[in-house]
């Protein structure tokens, strides 16, 4: 097999449809008789529900139905716990999951109280104003430390102290490490990550066909198979009666893998009730409340070091805002806990977190999924240590890197995939050195910075390193089939939200089967086309589904060779599979097209012998033994206006190691996009809640996504340490760009404004010109 497509910057198969407006997104689904939903949402963060009167709404012209929790009857139930707690000793875990429509209590602004179904979304919104709700407000629970006290209201009446979870993981002996240390640094860090804000909000269309006894659902989900399974169970249907289609999805980033959102539970039920297709499209205002966020953590962290900067141990205690419910378990804080260790040797580690219920929207993973928070703490501790021990920032990192011969490297503590955190391969020194070289680190510090400073300009440089646990199980599957036309079909259970699966997976198949990438038709996200799978999350699509695709394609290749060998009456070794046909090496004219072979494999006469299958088709699965650890380093030069504190990025470098690369163009796009979100997270985006749990900036005018003027040109470099955990050697890359940008900004801005000399440290994210002003101005 020749790898001429694998590793090549092949242009995407899916682009023509997207570029001409011919790609189907959920809101493009139009069905006869469709009704449109609008949800009435709580405008207070915490309240007991005294009554909901929908009579007037029901009476409005154009309204087809109005439902509250009471109308759902036995169907009403809290959603399932999607991710159970990991097997960690001593864990405290209080699962409380969201409900389809609020009953008795509302726990965050935006929680749905009722749903109106009408002839148009316009009319449905009109009817919302007819619904009379009587709420008895309760005190909001917003601040994490306050939430844990006795004085705080209980978000869940039976959960004291609003403790959603308490987890401690240790390695080695921190107390002993601290006692031995030459230098100990303690700090408090605050890290907030925001709202994913894909340009396409969520949406769902449900069509119940009573005569066919079948439900079709189009949903902007990243996990169509899991959604199909759960929905079927909820509705008392067999999985075979339910088809979930995640068509083109306009950006996922994590919150679209949260499942059994209230709307996802209510809309299909309503479709069954009404025997009419029902559509709900989330508007942008709703999105700020109805779709999950990632939010904040407060860390009290301590690092114990030798005088030459070697880490002896780290102790970290942190609080995690989990929102009103915790259906996604502990993925985010476990990721923080684990990813804090980074590419470094940390002989002793004592990490404890408390996840706290608050009266704010639910927190579930968003690109980075808690890794940002951990990376911020470690990178900042190292920066402070470098300063206090008078070491260069790059040098202190080098001294602590896990050496390249130490893999697989076992960090012992439990990761989000419930297995001990083990790094499969890596060469962190190489990554850092490359980044330093690309940014011109030494030259900047020795020449450029002093020169520009002499001109009165404030420029600074930042570097940050990280690892990213990717490609975790459980598994994915793929089905490859050669058609009579000679084209190849590929179906897999995951969905696509822009990552280019229609192309990258086609490249893998094209190489195995000797066809053009454009001749491989890929279907993702349709549960009728592929039954099994988990979904796109944790940077696993390319790794897990990609390998499943490869396995399936390999088997089909074997079938092709076997059948062709029979056809030509020769040995398989004498055959070549290329250009859409199988030919006998050295004998021109002896060739058969794949299409013809496919026909031959599906006989109208003759038999399929026992132990064989018709056609040139195979379904294979891949489940990695553990996650593959990608790594990287970012470096950035910024200039700051010392009076306005506005900032400009002068240079931005990413060096990323994600093992072998399927499509470098697609990979670059993923990194660019991740960095852009990281920049948003570091300096522009912040969800601003007041003491009443009201979100003050619920619009794109005030929740600031970076534009083409805020995101700089980025230079990307690569190193390759293949993963030994999968045959293709791939590691994930989807989240990498977003992970280390916070500490990068903090470090670079400190450098630009020479803040450490003024005894000012930046130990929080997000930053902003306003915040920098506050931190650098003595209070009057």
């Amino acid at each position: 097999m020749t790898t001429r497509n694998f590793g090549a910057p092949i242009r995407r198969n899916e682009d023509k449809r997207l570029l001409t407006g011919q790609a189907l997104f959920v809101d493009d689904v139009e069905l006869p008789g469709m009704v449109y939903a609008a949800f009435l949402r709580s405008n207070v963060a915490h309240a007991a529900i005294r009554s909901i009167d929908v009579a007037a709404a029901r009476g409005r012209d154009g309204v087809v139905a109005v439902y509250t929790a009471a109308d759902l009857g036995a169907y009403w139930a809290p959603g399932p716990l999607l991710v159970p707690p990991p097997p960690i000793a001593g864990i405290v875990f209080n699962p409380r999951t969201q409900v389809p429509l609020a009953k008795d209590k509302v726990r965050h602004v935006g929680e749905p109280l009722a749903v109106v179904l009408a002839q148009s979304r316009y009319l449905a919104e009109d009817a919302l104003a007819d619904i009379v709700v009587e709420l008895d407000p309760l005190p909001a629970v917003v601040d994490l430390e306050a939430a844990l006290t006795d004085a705080a209201a209980r978000v869940h009446d039976d959960v004291s102290g609003n403790v959603a979870a308490h987890v401690r993981q240790t390695r080695g002996n921190y107390a002993a490490a601290r006692a031995r240390a030459d230098h100990v640094i303690s700090r408090r860090f605050n890290y907030e990550h925001g709202a994913s804000s894909p340009i396409e909000t969520r949406g769902i269309v449900a069509n119940w066909d009573a005569r066919a006894n079948h439900l079709t659902v189009w949903d902007t989900t990243q996990a169509p198979v899991f959604f199909r399974n759960g929905l079927a169970a909820m509705l008392g249907l067999s999985e075979r009666q339910v088809r979930v289609i995640a068509p083109f999805v306009g950006g996922g980033f994590g919150p679209k893998i949260m499942l059994f959102y209230p709307e996802e539970v209510v809309i299909p039920w309503a479709a069954k009730q009404l025997n009419r297709p029902v559509k709900w499209i989330e508007d942008r205002l709703e999105h700020f409340f109805a779709t999950t966020h990632e939010r904040g953590q407060t860390h009290d962290a301590e690092i114990a070091l030798t005088r030459d900067g070697r880490i002896l141990g780290i102790k970290d205690t942190f609080l995690q805002d989990t929102g009103a419910y915790n259906p996604y378990g502990l993925t985010v804080p476990i990721n923080s806990q684990c990813t804090l260790l980074g590419p470094y040797v940390v002989p002793s580690y004592d990490s404890t977190f408390t996840a706290v219920f608050t009266t704010k929207p639910i927190v579930t993973p968003y690109r980075g999924a808690g890794r940002q928070h951990g990376v911020f703490v470690m990178e900042r501790l190292l920066d402070i240590a470098a300063r206090e021990l008078k070491l260069d920032r790059a040098e202190i990192r080098r001294r602590n890197f896990i050496p390249p011969d130490a893999f697989p490297y076992n960090n012992e503590i439990i990761y989000q995939d419930f297995a001990p955190l083990s790094y499969d391969s890596g060469n962190y020194g190489l990554v850092l050195d490359k980044a330093l070289d690309m940014i011109g680190y030494d030259r900047f510090l020795k020449e450029e910075q002093p020169r520009l400073r002499a001109q009165g300009r404030h420029v600074g440089i930042g570097i940050a390193c990280y690892v990213e646990g990717t490609g975790i199980g459980p598994y994915e599957g793929a089905k490859v089939q050669v058609q009579a036309s000679g084209k190849v079909n590929l179906a897999t259970g995951i969905g696509t939200q822009g990552q280019g699966h229609f192309t990258s997976f086609a490249q893998i198949v094209a190489d195995q089967l000797g066809v053009e990438v454009a001749d491989v038709d890929v279907v993702t996200g349709d549960t009728d086309q592929f039954y099994w799978g988990a979904g796109t999350f944790a940077s696993r699509g390319a790794v897990v589904a990609g390998n499943a695709v490869n396995e399936a394609a390999k088997v089909v290749r074997q079938k092709i060779l076997k059948l062709a060998a029979e056809h030509f009456e020769c040995a398989e070794e004498d055959l070549e599979v290329a250009n859409g046909q199988v030919s006998v090496v050295g004998i021109p004219g002896q060739a058969v097209s794949l299409g013809a072979l496919a026909l031959k494999a599906n006989p109208m006469r003759g038999a399929v012998r026992p132990g064989t299958e018709p056609g040139l088709e195979s379904t294979q699965y891949f489940g990695p033994p553990g996650g593959a650890t990608a790594s990287g380093a970012h470096a950035m030069i910024v200039e700051i206006d010392p009076q306005t504190f506005t900032l400009q990025v002068r240079k931005y470098v990413v060096v990323h190691d994600c093992g072998t690369v399927i499509n470098p163009l697609i990979l670059a796009g993923q990194i660019h996009g991740g960095v852009a979100q990281g920049i948003g997270n570091a300096f522009y985006e912040q969800l601003v809640f007041d003491d009443e749990g009201q979100l003050l900036n619920a619009s794109l005018a005030d929740y600031l996504l970076p534009t083409a003027l805020e995101v700089p040109h980025m230079e990307i470099g690569h190193t390759v340490t293949p993963s030994p955990l999968n045959p293709l050697g791939i590691k994930g890359a989807g989240e990498a760009g977003a992970i280390p940008v916070g500490p990068l900004f903090a470090q670079a801005i400190e450098d630009a404004l020479e803040l450490p000399q003024r005894r000012i440290e930046l130990n929080e994210i997000p930053l902003s010109p306003n915040r920098l002003f506050e931190l650098t101005t003595k209070p009057r």
Binding site: Y122, D283, Q643, T646, Q686, P706, L709, P769, F773, T777
Partner: protein, 292 residues
């Protein structure tokens, strides 16, 4: 986010538009560019009973000189037209310099200067400029017409002196004098966002090179656009140097009453007001000395 129901009429003439407005009063809103109005309608923060679409009234758009001293801009003039207008660039340098800061090209393709002024968002650039330039605004109704001075026109946040039956049809601004310089600057989180603070200033010099008049206006510095009276007065009759500029900048900080918002504390706004005033005055002064 769909708007509540409303009646709609496309005005065939100014008279018709004014008649409809007289009939409905505050229950009717004029639809010009819609770039400020329609978002509030989509959020259902505004629910007019009647929208009077005045986009057909092309006679209400256009830039013309009124003698040598002043420029008249029709209320329906789109920002994009102003951007491309040579007279505006030459005679209204403050307007010209502010335009790229206003939202984005797609917004400026529809947004009109009249719509923006009548909307009177305290963070908007144009009200501050009109106030700084002491412009006049023409209001028409079925009862007649009147000219309103800028200081009287802007009453507060989203509030103007327009009566319920009146439409803003024109704004008149003084053309830049010889030996004057202007400068508009703002700090915003992203280009096109509302200014955290914006400063619009003009400096006119006399034959001796001293300041004959300086006018400093600010946006997002108070309940409406702010004219920094003390700071402006402080420069009159003096040769403007670094010390005078610093003094004016400090006075501006006392002249304003910023409200703070999710992006900026009052302290930061006040700080920026001082910083931008100093920078804008310096530039305006240099431009005045160069002769524009």
């Amino acid at each position: 986010m769909k708007p509540a129901p409303f009646r709609y009429v496309a005005a065939a003439s100014l008279e018709q538009a004014l008649q409809w407005k007289a009939a409905y009063g505050e229950e009717a809103r004029f639809l010009a560019g819609g770039q400020s109005l329609v978002p509030t309608m989509n959020f259902r923060l505004t629910q007019p009973a009647l929208l009077i679409d005045i986009n057909p009234l092309t006679a209400c758009a256009g830039v013309s000189k009124n003698g040598a001293q002043s420029v008249r801009i029709g209320a329906l003039t789109r920002y994009r037209s102003l951007e491309r207008d040579a007279a505006t660039a030459r005679d209204l340098p403050l307007v010209h310099e502010a335009l790229p800061h206003i939202a984005h090209p797609q917004i400026r393709n529809r947004g009109t200067i009249g719509g923006n002024l009548a909307h009177a968002d305290p963070a908007s650039e144009m009200p501050a400029i009109v106030l700084a330039l002491a412009g006049r605004l023409r209001a028409q109704s079925v009862r007649g017409e009147r000219w309103i001075g800028a200081a009287e026109f802007f009453k507060g946040a989203l509030s103007t002196a327009l009566e319920p039956d009146e439409m803003l049809t024109e704004v008149e601004l003084p053309a830049a004098a010889a030996r004057s310089g202007a400068c508009f600057m703002e700090v915003a989180r992203r280009r096109g966002d509302f200014a955290i603070i914006g400063v619009a200033c003009t400096v006119e010099l006399d034959a001796a090179g001293s300041c004959r008049e300086a006018r400093i206006g600010l946006c997002n510095a108070g309940d409406g656009p702010v004219f920094a009276e003390k700071a402006s007065a402080s420069l009159k009759g003096r040769k403007i140097g670094a010390a005078e500029i610093d003094e004016a900048a400090a006075l501006v900080q006392g002249d304003i009453d910023p409200g703070g918002n999710v992006h900026a504390s009052k302290a930061y706004q006040r700080h920026i007001a001082g910083v931008l005033t100093a920078r804008a005055l310096k530039t305006a002064n240099e431009r005045a000395q160069r002769g524009h």
